[in-house]
Amino acid sequence: MEETMQSGGTGRSVATGVLRVAVSIIVPVVTFVLLYAAFIFMRDSDASRLLVAAVALIVGVFGVWLIYIGTDMVVSLLPAGIRERVRPFVFVGPALVVLTAYVVLPAVSSLYLSFLDARADEFVGLANYVFIFTDPAMLIVLRNNLLWLIFVTAFAVGMGLVIAVMADRAGRWEPVVKSLIFLPMAISAVGASVIWKFVYAFRPAGAEQIGLLNAVVTALGGDPQGWLLLRPWNNFFLILVMIWLLTGFCMVVLSAAVKGVPGELLEAARIDGASEARIFFQVIIPTIRGTLLTITTTVLIMVIKVFDIVFVMTSGQFGTQVIANRMYQELFTFRNSGRGSALAIILFIAIVPFIIYNVRSLREARR
């Protein structure tokens, strides 16, 4: 095809060739100039907010595409031999660059910062870690994270499973009930915190209670309590919020697994006279073990990073501090990047087993 063109009219083919090269260079160059200009504009502009917003949206949505189109054009100019070897990197390159810049390098950098002092000037060895594992306030932080991990995971997964099994037998009520329990999953942790702060609202004894929990307690003859000030039980009132958020999620995932338990298996167990409790523990749970494991690790990973609920409801006061919130405080209140980084690294180390597990399952799947 190219050959016939060349023999047909060298002049024309040279012209189209030049044109193609020119376009292939101009388009990427214009792309990058435009994107850079837009970047500077968004960063420094005092122009009207709406205009900035419009530019931001256009750049955010279409800018990335322009980068790919531009680089692909540049690559098309390369000699045929190299071209096909370079092309895959046009496709994966940007992803690898972003991942390196935002996930890999910062993690390494955090590790480095965790060995430096508050202002990242001097090397202090393991001092930040020693502080975290000896300071009484920090030990409470670690204890609280442990409480969150144990109780949120146990209750969200446990109740999710029980409700999934119950709902499976509830006939036409199933979708309604499941929707209601699943609904909190759409709500942000900040929104949920406001919802529950209102449930826990406290008025002195004798006054009309506007918080649901104190209204119930006083109606039953008890004294109203400031639930979020009640050490150490206040931790459990915060933990309850996350259980409320996550149970529906566990239920939905486990429900699919429960429905996968063969009906014949359940019938056979019933004919043998097994009680429902026995069926639950000795037939259903062993059958869905895989899903149960997955959902448990998923919840663990979510819980260990808990931040929003504590930040909004107590700011970590009254003995309710957790790692992620303390890290935020180290960063913005105490201006101590060393301790903040050390806390981040502790979170990371806690996640390492899951990383290893994921990569191992990938290898097994490949085999």
Binding site: A53, A56, L57, V59, G60, S76, R85, V92, A95, L99, Y102, V103, L105, P106, A107, S110, A167, R169, A170, G171, W173, V176, V177, L180, I181, F182, L183, P184, M185, A186, I187, S188, A189, V190, G191, V194, I195, W196, K197, F198, I210, G248, V252, V253, A256, K259, G263, T298, M302, I304, D308, M327, Y328, S337, G340, L343, A344, F348, I351, V359
Partner: protein, 298 residues
Amino acid sequence: MSASTKTVKQTKRTDPRKILSSAPLWIALVLIGFLWTLPTAGLLISSFRPAVDIQTSGWWTAITHPFAETTRWTIENYQQVLTAEGMGTAFLNSLLVTIPSVVIPITIAAFAAYAFAWLDFPGRGFFFALVVALMVVPLQTALIPVLRAYVGLDLNGTYLGVWLFHTGFGLPLAIFLLFGYISSLPGEIIESAHIDGASPFTTFTRLVLPLSVPVIASFAIFQFLWVWNDLLVALVFLGTGREVMVVTSQLSALVGERGQDWHILTAGAFVTMIVPLIVFFSLQRYFVRGLTAGSVKG
């Protein structure tokens, strides 16, 4: 298999003894569902009550006596929250933060997933294992270094900075999900496009991308909810300036400033929840799929 479960279900429904014996079960379930919804209902109802009423009587009194003279309803809380309390601006900012934070990672991930699935390059296996490993890295490990870099680059407080951060931590999962789908597309289609002389770029945009819409939609919903509901990233990189705050950071600021003004807080909370709730009710099936697919994330 599915036919047999269907018949089991049907007998379950038509057998009166079964219905009777399952009565305690569904009563318990309805009770659980009711309890689960109660806190949200309290918030929603309170947001339509005048400030004085919220402070002097429990929200349930408005339900037990909906038409009594002492029960008043209002939308003033919403007017105040959207204008004077800055929730309107925050709502726009949230859209501005969220939409590119969904589109950018999806685009980058789709290109990468296609390359991992159908193009050959050195280090492919290693890089994909890296992507899988990065999937659960907590975003906290990146906060301090990225913040320091942003201060140097003057990116702190910009939308671009937040988009890129969400892109970085959305990518591993997006690539993983899209790879699973794109690699299972029939090889003959991709081969034949290649034989017809289509470049990888054309194959990708004309063929692979349109075929991958279902998995893209699932991830888009997940990422949308994730970014919309995020507080930490918005706080760290956008800060707490009135004009840049998103709905979550604005609401959390209101909790700090107006801790006892429940008419503001309830209406404000509902403003932050309305978009996710619409997604939830209109796209529940996809919502579930996206959520379950995307639950493991840094």
